[in-house]
């Protein structure tokens, strides 16, 4: 199904895109990162639940297969467009302002650090309608509240169709609290990213 014009219009007006996911999100994020245009003119931030103490190959794998600049976030890193940023394990990622990130080690949210809620809420606060967030597969409720905040602040709130998600709980939780501005199939999400 073709994307609604209103989504594409709003998407064009965003400066930042947030991707949140947990169990079952890796494959989709990998596909997204692989297909992102290096001149997308937006900053992309990926918040994926991950375990501390295990050096994941995610950064390596992602950057080897993407054409866009990719980096794991360090405290006070400058936020640039045409770059993909990965939230580090065992920290929450916040937006200090539109200029740079801030990290935080406070309590886990939904047993998760990084928590998707924390990053989404912070982005909603800083970017308002100029941010888009996509919540995908996962086996807990993290991200739903944050997505609701994005939506309430005028941002583009997108949820992966739970029928397409490997783990439906995370997108379904967002739908249940009416946080989804749009529910898109995996194919539509990829189409939007490439639009």
């Amino acid at each position: 199904m073709a994307l609604e014009k209103s989504i594409i219009q709003h998407w064009r007006d965003t400066d930042i895109v947030l991707l949140g996911g947990s169990a079952g999100s890796f494959k989709l994020f990998y596909q997204i990162v692989k297909s992102i245009d290096p001149d997308i003119n937006k900053a992309i931030v990926i918040v994926m639940h991950r375990k501390k103490n295990y050096f994941s190959e995610i950064e390596k794998l992602f950057s080897e297969h993407s054409r866009i600049y990719l980096k794991e976030i360090a405290d006070k890193d400058v936020i640039s467009k045409n770059a993909v940023y990965l939230a580090p394990a065992n920290y929450h990622t916040l937006f200090e302002n539109e200029g740079y990130f801030s990290l935080d080690v406070s309590e886990a949210v939904w047993y998760s650090k990084p928590s998707i809620d924390v990053t989404f809420e912070s982005a909603a606060d800083i970017y308002g309608e100029r941010c888009a967030a996509i919540l995908v597969s996962g086996a807990n409720q993290d991200g739903a509240e944050g997505l609701l905040k994005i939506k309430s602040n005028g941002g583009l709130a997108i949820v992966q169709d739970p029928r397409d998600a490997e783990m439906a709980e995370m997108p379904q939780s967002a739908i249940d609290i009416n946080a989804a501005g749009y529910i898109l199939s995996t194919a539509q999400i990829l189409e939007l990213i490439r639009s």
């Binding site: 360090a74 935080d104 080690v105 309590e107 924390v118 809420e121 606060d125």
Partner: protein, 277 residues
């Protein structure tokens, strides 16, 4: 106007609170990182079910509440052997150097409930250097310091650090350093010896001793660059020549002035060494 959740505060309100706290209590949060502080203040408001005006009123008129507020807004989440690779780096790159000193003074700045101080105490003991080392732990939060002095943690909590300990490459298990009774794990007395916990505010207090190593991890993330530089200066002046500075694994020295004053020893773990005198 953008607000921070239904019961949250705006950036303007946060600035107002910062001004109020500075004026009434002398604590300066002006150069703290706003994103995190806003989240912490919102948390207090929600926890206490306060309105913004109630919060202001209580901050001005209720001294006990202010103390409590201070404890709640500062982040006290810590682990023993957080980032095991950092401790590995210490063992291989710093400890051999420290062992040449007659006395080793270490400052754990922003020590919270003491987990880092006791991790360092265990590390020094394993390296055979415990008897000639002295570890100072400081924090602005008096309540967490009480916990740190006791050195008693829930057994569940200690068990959750077990993996860190193993990954850091030590022999045996973390619980070997504790006396466990029911759910309480008490750090061995020997490890408590030569430690001292006291209040110190990195924002406003100055040099109080000279150290061979300063460990300040996941504290800079709460500060703006200007304040980070102020504290780097404090650390520089508190270190002996060639003394070591350890920051968190996501915290780097960004200021050009200070990059010239510190040599990078381990870029992944952000371990630095003071250059010059």
């Amino acid at each position: 106007m953008k607000t921070d959740t239904l019961t949250g505060i705006t950036t303007e309100q946060l600035d107002e609170l910062i001004g109020l706290i500075k004026g009434v209590h002398g604590f300066d949060f002006g150069d703290y990182s706003k994103a995190s502080l806003k989240r912490r203040v919102t948390r207090v408001i929600n926890l206490k079910k306060l309105g913004f005006y109630d919060l202001k009123h209580m901050l001005v008129n209720d001294a006990d509440f202010f103390q409590h507020f201070l404890e709640e807004v500062t982040v006290n989440v810590t682990e023993m052997f957080r980032d095991p690779t950092f401790y590995k780096g210490l063992c291989s790159q710093v400890v051999p150097y420290l062992s040449t000193y007659q006395h080793i003074k270490i400052w754990s700045a922003g020590c919270s409930s003491g987990e880092e101080v006791y991790s360092l105490a265990i590390l020094m003991r394993e390296a055979g250097l415990k008897r000639k080392s002295f570890i100072y732990g400081t924090d602005i939060n008096t309540e967490v310091l009480k916990e740190a002095r006791k050195g008693i943690y829930s057994f569940k909590r200690i068990k959750s650090y077990a993996e860190n300990y193993v990954f850091a490459g030590f022999n045996g298990s973390l619980t070997d350093h504790f006396t466990v009774m029911y759910d309480a794990a008490t750090i061995h007395n020997e490890l408590k010896q030569n430690t001292l916990f006291s209040v110190h505010n990195l924002v406003s207090d100055g040099v109080f001793n000279e150290f061979q190593m300063i460990v300040c991890r996941n504290v800079f993330i709460y500060f703006e660059s200007k304040l980070q530089e102020h504290i780097l200066d404090l650390f520089y002046n508190s270190l002996c020549p060639h003394g070591f500075l350890c920051l968190g694994s996501k915290e780097t020295i960004r200021s050009d002035a200070f990059r010239k004053k510190f040599k990078v020893i381990n870029s992944r773990e952000n371990i630095y060494q003071k250059i010059g005198s």
